[in-house]
Symmetry: none
Subunit: 224 residues, 2 copies
DNA sequence: CCCGAACCTGAAAAAAGCCTGAAGCTTGTG
DNA sequence: CACAAGCTTCAGGCTTTTTTCAGGTTCGGG
């Protein structure tokens, strides 16, 4: 899971980064509103922590813009402002939770868990599609009795494909979510991993396959 | 949208009910934990507002039980307890938002809006005309049980035809929208793709057809 | 009824996109 | 330090999409 922290107070940003890392997030930090919005728009994140008062662009407008561009990641708005009016404004701009400073680490983490629970189906620790099962805690991909261990990147890709049901996932999405939008990985990297995954699916004798939709991306397909 | 309010303070319960009604919710009220849980388990609600201190059964265990029984409705936990520990416990038992009393009406309503916003989100959108369906997330064109995959240009063209209902779409429009106005593609390119699409429609045995209007363009027609 | 413009469509060439084995890196571990 | 596992890069070959072309068909006006 990737998180974006948009916060101009660098000390706080680092602290947040450490907190979230301890909750197994990979974090990117933006120190001003503009870069925060840019990063957020990449669609690479599963969580966005947003301060309100920021240089260049405030949190409200960032949230609004992200939602307008169909970025669905949960937004946790984090600020010193306790005015009811600000809370309302924050939530109505598209934030999912409004937390006021100061807050304790345990509280922040509980919010994060609550926010990401639905998205990543953290409630279950197994995802399934057709005849394959992805164990989220051991990274095993199983089918019937057989199973194989997936590497970290293989796992992320399979995770994304499976949680999207049968819908198409573009290479760009995969690059952003798996490699991060800062990375300079190219389409071919995705192709290589898709190839690895296909090899494993075929080893498992799974009926589920990864279908290529030229110029669109990939998707899972059940049945033979 | 239906809301369940689980709150033993009858005055507060009524106030909450009025607030939510003003936000166009139909509200039911339970005054103790047991009946709250029973009602919640019916699965009839799109929102559950839960107090923590309740007769017979506390809010934490209600939330936990609801989640265990796969009730997915957003839970707004509402309480006078401000201890961080309680917040963590509340959120971790399955609540989606923790609001401490006293709170203002506007704040509550903003939370509710934030919590219910995601409900209406459609995962798979589909465009249909006559007996054919164009799945926008998988790029399949379907009719009855059968379906075929469309290539990118085929998809764009079909998309345009279908979203125009039965209206005429000129070749020029198609060239501009599908090839881009910079392109030097010619009318014949469109014709070739229309031909591809017709072949697929006929394979699908669809009643919908692509009609040619000489000198004007193309349009979809239902009927046999 | 005839003619030309508009349209259809099969085939094949051209281009774009994708697959995958192999080799070279990097990183973490015993 | 050496090894293994995972990651990246690369290049050649393969597949699908897109374009092009040419011969045929249909339509409407004169």
């Amino acid at each position: 899971m990737r998180a974006l922290i948009v916060e101009d107070d660098k000390a706080l940003a680092r602290t947040l980064g450490e907190m979230l890392s301890s909750a197994r997030f990979e974090c990117d930090i933006s120190n001003d509103g503009e870069s925060g919005l840019d990063n957020g728009l990449s669609g690479a994140y599963d969580l966005i922590v947003l301060d309100i008062m920021l240089p260049k662009k405030d949190g409200f407008s960032i949230a609004r813009e992200l939602r307008k561009q169909k970025i669905a990641a949960p937004i946790l708005m984090l600020t010193a402002r306790t005015e009811t009016n600000d809370k309302v404004r924050g939530l109505d701009s598209g934030a999912d939770y409004y937390l006021t400073k100061p807050f304790e680490m345990s509280e922040l983490l509980a919010c994060v868990r609550a926010l990401t629970r639905r998205q990543g189906e953290v409630i279950m620790d197994e995802l399934s599609f057709g005849d394959i099962r992805l164990n989220l805690s051991t990274c095993d991909l199983g089918c019937g009795e057989k199973k194989v261990r997936l590497g970290k990147k293989e796992f992320s890709i399979m995770h994304i494909l499976m949680s999207n049901g049968g819908a198409i996932v573009s290479k760009e999405t995969l690059l952003n979510k798996v490699w991060g939008c800062e990375s300079d990985a190219e389409d071919n990297n995705v192709e290589v991993y898709i190839s690895f995954l296909r090899k494993k699916l075929s080893f498992l004798k799974a009926t589920v396959q990864i279908a290529t939709l030229r110029k669109f991306g990939y998707r899972l397909e059940a049945q033979a």
